[in-house]
Symmetry: C3
Subunit: 487 residues, 3 copies
């Protein structure tokens, strides 16, 4: 009873203000208008999406089918599905935060991709003659990728932050992403087509650092909602499967035309298959009676895809891919079993979706795997031209050896982690200001806070009994109110 009164005190005492009726519309409008202005100043169609293509075609003696659109659009659509359905539905596993999982994912990805087109444009494809950014289908893929970093971070924060905070996470996340990506891809000249480093390691550590700063010691007051029900686990499986199936497209979407895309898809497909078996094995071993845990199946099966993000386009060989998937399925499942509870207990780090095990660690491993595979590259395997082609040993980098490239790849991984941790810590402190409308500790993981939630699932009464039903219902409610007042 004492405990009950304490909680009642919490309830009626000074509550956190979760009203975002001013802040959320304000942020959306101001940022969307800023996007319109900046797009107006900077963004134009590139030569393959501009009406001048008909002239360009003649001048360059190419045909319509050689437009980059036909090389990349199918992969783009798969990536798009991963971002919105894959990440979105993967986060619907909580029993009463499915609206927030898929809905806020939708909101921040839609904002993030606009800001990403600008940020990535400024860093990677600003034409200094005209001062414009020229976009095509590859820009759209990169924008989706850039969002992925922030969506991964959302996984660590799921249920504990307000939509306004998520917009801030995304604004800074996309900005940091563009900078670290510029350093890693352009300055260090790393290869990272599927983003083990720039997307997963960065996004994972970014989210973890924010979550660490926003640690809630009394989060167990929301414990009753921090879990799944049968059907919310099924919705999450939609997310898992679309991520799993389309990961070959993710890792091959922006690799080189021809063998680059072909090989990246094959390697990722193989690694993912291997992850599934070892995830099932460890999950079964860890439970009394050998029962499988949906959390592992929903997440650790994807670790092979994350870890192949860098190496997929290299000649890692099919059995090499199998080994990567094999190990990462094990490591990721162990993470869910032991590391997440450890982090929460000893490092004060609450990681709702376990992004540490699915993105941070496999991403970091993927970066180092890429470094090793790059360092081991030689002309007998790649051919002379193939080596130049795969690693872009051209221009300033014409004399770089595979060994040196491996070193830079490893350095790039460290850069991405550092950006994630430092950037996340700073953003975390910004989010501690009491102005963002985040929920109280006993109010987390609850859609009621930010959504109009419809009535619960219940047996729909037949028409004749409906009035009676309503009467009974009101009686019940009065009685329960009464008993609450009495208690």
């Amino acid at each position: 009873m004492g405990n009950c009164c304490e909680r009642a005190g919490n309830f009626f005492g000074p509550q956190k203000n979760t009203n975002v009726r001013v802040s959320l519309p304000a942020v959306c409008f101001v940022w969307q208008i800023a996007m319109i202005v900046l797009f107006g100043v900077f963004i134009r169609y590139d030569e393959e999406s501009d009406a001048h293509w008909v002239v360009y075609k003649k001048d360059h003696n190419v045909t319509d089918i050689e437009n980059d659109f036909y090389f990349r659009y199918p992969s783009f659509q798969d990536v798009h599905v991963m971002i919105f359905v894959g990440f979105g539905f993967l986060m619907t596993f909580l029993k009463r935060y499915s609206f927030g999982g898929v809905g806020f994912n939708f909101l921040i990805a839609a904002f993030g991709l606009q800001w990403a087109l600008l940020m990535q444009g400024w860093f990677h494809s600003l034409d200094h003659t005209t001062g414009k950014i020229y976009i095509g289908v590859e820009s759209l893929i990169n924008a989706d990728f850039c969002c992925a970093g922030s969506l991964i971070a959302y996984g660590a924060l799921l249920g504990k932050v307000s939509p306004v905070q998520l917009m801030v996470v995304t604004l800074f996340g996309v900005t940091l992403f563009a900078v670290e990506e510029y350093i890693i891809l352009d300055l260090l000249h790393c290869r990272d087509a599927g983003g083990s480093m720039v997307i997963h390691a960065f996004g994972g550590y970014y989210g973890l650092a924010i979550s660490w700063v926003l640690y809630r010691p009394n989060l167990n007051q929301s414990k009753r909602l921090n879990g799944s029900v049968y059907h919310s686990d099924m919705f999450a499986m939609i997310g898992t499967l679309f991520l799993w199936m389309f990961w070959p497209s993710f890792n091959s979407a922006i690799t080189d035309h021809g063998d680059g895309q072909h090989r990246a898809a094959i390697n990722t497909y193989i690694a993912l298959a291997s992850s599934v078996l070892t995830t099932v094995a460890i999950s079964s071993m860890s439970q009394k009676g050998g029962k499988l845990d949906m959390v592992h199946i929903q997440n650790a099966t994807l670790a092979g895809g994350v870890a192949m993000g860098t190496a997929a386009e290299f000649m890692i060989t099919p059995y090499g891919s199998l080994i990567v998937g094999f190990c990462c399925g094990i490591i990721s499942t162990f993470g869910y079993l032991f590391i997440t509870p450890f982090l929460e207990k000893y490092l004060k780090l609450q990681d709702t979706c376990g992004v540490h095990n699915l993105h941070a660690v496999p991403g970091m491993l993927g970066g180092f795997i890429g470094a090793i595979v790059a360092a081991a590259a030689d002309e007998s395997v790649y051919s002379k031209e193939g080596l130049i082609n795969v690693f872009d040993f051209e221009g300033d980098f014409a004399n770089r050896s595979p060994g040196t490239q491996g070193g830079f790849q490893a350095a790039g991984t460290c850069v991405s982690i550092a950006f994630g941790l430092v950037g996340g810590a700073i953003v975390g402190f910004i989010l501690k200001f009491p102005i963002w409308g985040d929920p109280a500790d006993d109010n987390c993981f609850d859609d009621e806070v930010y959504w109009e939630v419809p009535e619960d699932e219940e047996t729909i009464p037949p028409v004749l009994e409906y009035n009676n039903h309503m009467i009974h219902k009101h009686q019940e409610i009065s009685e329960s109110n009464f008993s609450v007042e009495q208690s």
Copy 2:
């Protein structure tokens, strides 16, 4: 109590006959057999899907990859997903009409696309020498598009009509579509690749006109079922997201090879992102506490895609696309907040899914936006050849100026609306005959009427308690029957 008796009177009194055991199979069989006969007489493979392709290739000096299949098949599959999963699941939001939402959508789309292949073939691609229609992948896309008009109309009628009525709606809908499309695209020589006019404005007003004629003054007798539950909203989000993600494919599926498809995809992608932010903003502003409403997120976020249906292939510029999405997200959300209730109260127009706000108005706006963008086109932006290429200023239309084209585009929009309103009113009157098996006013939005519905969700009892449980259940039922009799 008086009310209760009145309802009981309704219930036991002269009921509408919703038995479709004769009419539904009859319609399906007769129409399907008619399709077989007509396909036998008229439909053949075109040169790119015929076994003579191997000869054609040599004669025309093209390679396999230049077969239109490789330009359009990925987009076709995306459109196909939008029609069956997108529209289908978007209509599962009602708590007890999910079977009807996705199932009848499936039925009428599968019929509609066959009839569309014929109708569009007769109007657009009948070879007058041979009297045959030659089909390829573009025909399949157009057939899916043609169905979309009728599926949009279904949105306004959801839960209030029988499957037989829906088959009639589709038969006439596809027919009217083919005629208005012929007038708009061929006679007026409008451009409307994503169908703002021919699909959305037409389909929306077609459905609204039917719904207006079929007005049910006592529909509030089914009010208890006219709403969502938590998980039905999640199923609807599957529909929303697949529509949202694949809309760039919808608007680019039949545009010109090369820059046409490329630009249309980019513009639609950008406009949709912008719609999401303004929808969230208005939805949050409109509710006490700033809570978001799933109805808005499920629908108004798509308005940008609808409104870009005509202009997506033009040089509307990326920031122009953002502005279109920005405005349409606002307008559509306002529609759900104010216009739908207004229409229901004052114009006697019941619009279950709010197609007025998602299709009719954004489609109409999209038509006029297209007109404006077309009128503003000039050679400095498009290049001389680009202008001819984009607007097909060839043959009879070689001398048409962009300004004139804009005028015709606007005229086309009016034609589509007129077809929708007049056609819908006529079809509505046909559907008023008391022979179609539609549900009574207190029986709407209920899958029980047309589907074998399985038992409700409930705690599945463990094996040992199952017998006891069944005994208790029967007792409960007897008791509740008893209490009903007493009351």
Copy 3:
């Protein structure tokens, strides 16, 4: 009471041991490690996915876009979705076996595709000079196809076997598949691009034979769980629709470049549309009041796609496709109404998903339809080169006539059925050993056996009432335990 005691006796008496904590991890690890070793020995990239492509391109005077990746990758991704989401979600219809439906499907497909790459490689594409198997995107499609056979078999076994048994089913299923496919495609030189014979007839009869051997006379002890609930039917519709929408890609994924893929997609699209209407018609006719049955809509609508697996790439004509879909929709729905109950009652054959009606019979019919269409082929329809191209009348088979080809196609169908029946019977007997951890008769169709299942759906209590609620709950549980002990 007697019945109750008997069941209690079952319950506390010698129970089947369903603990797979040793066997499942052991099988996963051993087989995955075997895969790594065998991939290391045998599997390499083919010339289109190897880094030497840049050299190959020059030598063969081709461009990047002519890499097979761009011909087949979009279709591959559609097939991939069918295997994991299509088959997976189609099997979620049971009220309490959704985890097992989608989860075990995931597990066995991920294992099966690895084993398939090896088995199909050894039989079809082993380079005898180097002793290596060279893989590309077409190999991935074929591996997915090969899994499909075992997944179909799983449909007949759903809810009645352990995951370890399913791994055995898949190991043998893939092996048998590769052998029968070698006989049918290579030795008999049949055409079967969409696998009516090699996938559907084989997989269907394979599963039925296993299920027949594993007949459980007391399966009605699990009757309470052998059915759907409202939302599990909705999840199953996700599977149905993705199978239905992407079946054109399934049947066209490995057909000839150009017209072959184009025509196969068109024919399948048309046949499937026709199936939907006749399924609805028969389903409605069969029920009192004309109500539709979700079982039919979820399954029989797909029969047209199965039956077009062989003939889709031939010149079957669009109306021929309609007729195939028309008949197979009827036959399949009749199967669910009459043949499945008949098989269970008189042939002791329990077929959970009704694969007999969806795969076995339509697959067999598809084989014979293919035979007839092949036998009817002539040069006036195909052109001389077209005929050679479609049927590969080259090399050893240059002098084969269409009539002879038809005979071989029919023979191939018989081979596939024989392999399914004999192989399934043998595998069934292997699975009867009491070591596999399969569930007891009163424990079937229950996720509790192999999964950690979260708490049930329930009204989530508001924070204030949570403690009270927990107290009440414990009281209820004590009371119910008490009453059980008393009874």
